[in-house]
Amino acid sequence: MGDWIKGVALENPKGLIGSTILVLFTLMALSHPILMAWVWNKGIYHPMTGFDPDIVPHPTSPSLRHPLGTDSFGRDIMSQLLYGAGTSLGVGITAGLVASILALSAGLASAYFGGKVEALLMALCDVLILMPPPIILLIVGLLVEMRWPTLALLYGVLAGLGAPAAIIKSWAQSVTVKAFVETAKVSGGSDFYILRRHILPYVLPAGFLFMMFTASGAVLTEAFLSFFGRTRIRMSWGTMIWFTQLTFYWSPKGPQWHALFPPALAIIAFCSAFYLLSKAVEEFYDPTLRRFPWGIKPRSQS
């Protein structure tokens, strides 16, 4: 695990940028409750209900008091951005983990056991491939209260059991027929042991890749659903963009460009981080892809 973190997140420049961005967003998300508890006045800086009565009129440009300015309702944009970082991190990580775990277990089980297990899982996977998760979530939004954990879980299940499971299955199939699997079976290895010890390492890179793709997909989907008002999430980056474009001209000082850019740039940075990390994972497992533009060389090339 230590090697893996070093190879993916520290020695690879792409991975380094990606993990730095993610760490920054984690710090942002963690700092919000701390700031709210000890530094910021709850009445003024609350992301949903705050209002600064000392300033009129209200959409204000960045100032010392409000580092990113305020929106048309007098709410602090910095506070909203930090709060939204928590939502996005939660959605991305939950969806990514759920999707990769489900895709790995379904893919491995259907490749290894074959027969009825495979027929059942692949039928499910075939059906889910035909249902793009964002469109299905638009409809499911009418059925359940769409808060972020629900959204992340549903996205993870729908995205993970679709195409990723099928791809991991076909990777795993090429391993299950190798001689060392037979050898392990004959020597008395249990199914679980063989799956974990002999087959999982081959498909784990694909699992990590799908985790990254699902994470950024889930964050974009959350933003898109919030933008069209199909969730019960009260504050996220998508909600911020929706609110800003709705009230873009409700301001005596002209359009509110200062409120439009922070959430959108945050989404771009967040998804880019996952993309760069996925590149780093790919390069870690496939050294022929590696390029070291800044003269950074890995210590061991085994």
């Binding site: 249902m131 009418l142 898109f224 933008f227 873009f248």
Partner: protein
């Protein structure tokens, strides 16, 4: 191959039935129905309307009604637009979606593949390379409604160059005998003809030199444009193009990045292969190695990737339609969800599902045709 084809088609048919069942259950699990979205209707009317629309039947009867209708090509009548059947509504909306989706996708591919191969070959490390990568990653991960909003603010509101709504200017179309869908389909055909013709004409004329090829291509495109003027529809086509500009740009800007990055990675993977070394040893130009030896093979992995990414493309075009009120399938989808118009919703989702199913089946068949090993690998039996 015949055996494989048969198995794959049977599997596709079973998938289709399961998919329809899952959709039906999902949509009928929603709280409320179409009638309950009509606020302020007297209860007696509501009851009568439910009986008229068949919403009071037991679930299994509705299910068989839908399934038998689906497999006989009768998708029922829309609740929201009772004059039209769902099929008619879809056929009315489809040309608009296609006119948005196909040119944007094809342009994103041409642009992405072209830039991607320039960046990967000859191998280089440069500031330019890094900044194009940064641009592509930004394009890949940017939030579509935001891009659309900024484009509208700049080009529609500030500069007033392009409209931000609708697909035609109505005043121009009042005394025109043909529908906008016809013009759109012809425009789509022209676009496809232009792409294919560009390639075929250029290839044929290349024998007589690059200048001839260029002249032939220019002549071909001019002829296509002239055909529109002779037909007398150029005014209408220009009007549609004018409305198409912003949605098209939005879709292109958010889609080209990923293709470019994939193409570059794919080229990078092949750089060390022997056939590249051989081509260079023969003394070929770097550009010839790139265009004739590397990029042709590098495109293949992108095709299967394209099938996997297709739902996202479709969703992107639906969102763009919703934002620019481009009255295609996406706008219908949002209406159908808001009013719980069950037949229309089922119809649209079935259309999406069928398109995805056909693309996956044809990908599998193409791969099996190219690689005989795959034909024998069915249901886990490897030999």
């Amino acid at each position: 191959m015949g055996r494989y084809l048969f198995h794959r088609l049977v599997r596709a048919f079973i998938t289709l039935i399961l998919f329809q069942t899952a959709l039906f259950l999902l949509i009928h699990a929603l709280p409320g129905d179409f009638v309950s979205t009509a606020v302020g209707l007297p209860p007696v009317w509501k009851k009568a309307l439910r009986a008229y629309l068949g919403l009071n039947l037991p679930l299994w009867q509705q299910y068989f009604r839908w399934m038998s209708g689906f497999f006989t090509g009768n998708l029922g009548k829309s609740f929201l637009y009772p004059r039209y059947s769902v099929l008619e509504l879809l056929l009315m909306a489809l040309p608009k979606t296609l006119l948005l989706l196909v040119p944007a996708t094809v342009s994103a591919w041409i642009f992405g593949v072209w830039v991607g191969k320039q960046m990967a070959w000859p191998p280089k490390h440069s500031f330019f390379n890094a900044s194009v990568t940064a641009l592509a990653v930004t394009s890949y991960s940017s939030f579509l409604p935001w891009v659309a909003f900024i484009l509208v603010q700049i080009f529609a509101i500030r500069l007033k160059w392009f409209p931000a709504q609708n697909e035609v200017s109505l005043e121009l179309w009042t005394d025109v005998p043909i529908s906008s869908n016809t013009v759109m389909l012809w425009m789509l055909a022209t676009f496809i003809a232009a792409i294919i013709g560009w390639w075929v004409v250029g290839k044929t004329a290349k024998k007589w030199g690059t200048a001839t090829a260029f002249a032939a291509r220019a002549l071909f495109l001019t002829a296509l444009v002239l055909a529109w003027f002779i037909r007398g529809w150029s005014r209408l086509a220009v009007d549609i193009l004018w409305h198409l500009a912003l949605p098209f740009t939005t879709l292109l800007a958010t889609n080209f990045g990923e293709i470019m990055l994939l193409m570059r990675t794919s080229m990078t993977l092949l750089r060390k292969e022997d056939f590249v070394l051989l081509a260079r040893a023969k003394g070929l130009d770097e550009s010839r190695v790139r265009d004739y030896h590397l990029s042709r093979i590098a495109i293949l992995p992108l095709l299967s990737r394209f099938i996997l990414q297709f739902p996202l493309l479709l969703l992107g075009s639906f969102i763009v339609e919703k934002i620019f009120f481009w009255p295609g399938v996406g706008v219908l989808l949002f209406f159908a969800i808001d009013y719980q118009d069950v037949p229309l919703l089922m119809g649209i989702l079935s259309l999406v599902g069928i398109v995805l199913l056909v693309s996956h089946v044809s990908l599998d068949l193409a791969l099996a045709w190219l690689d005989p090993r795959l034909r024998r690998r069915m249901h886990g039996r490897l030999d």
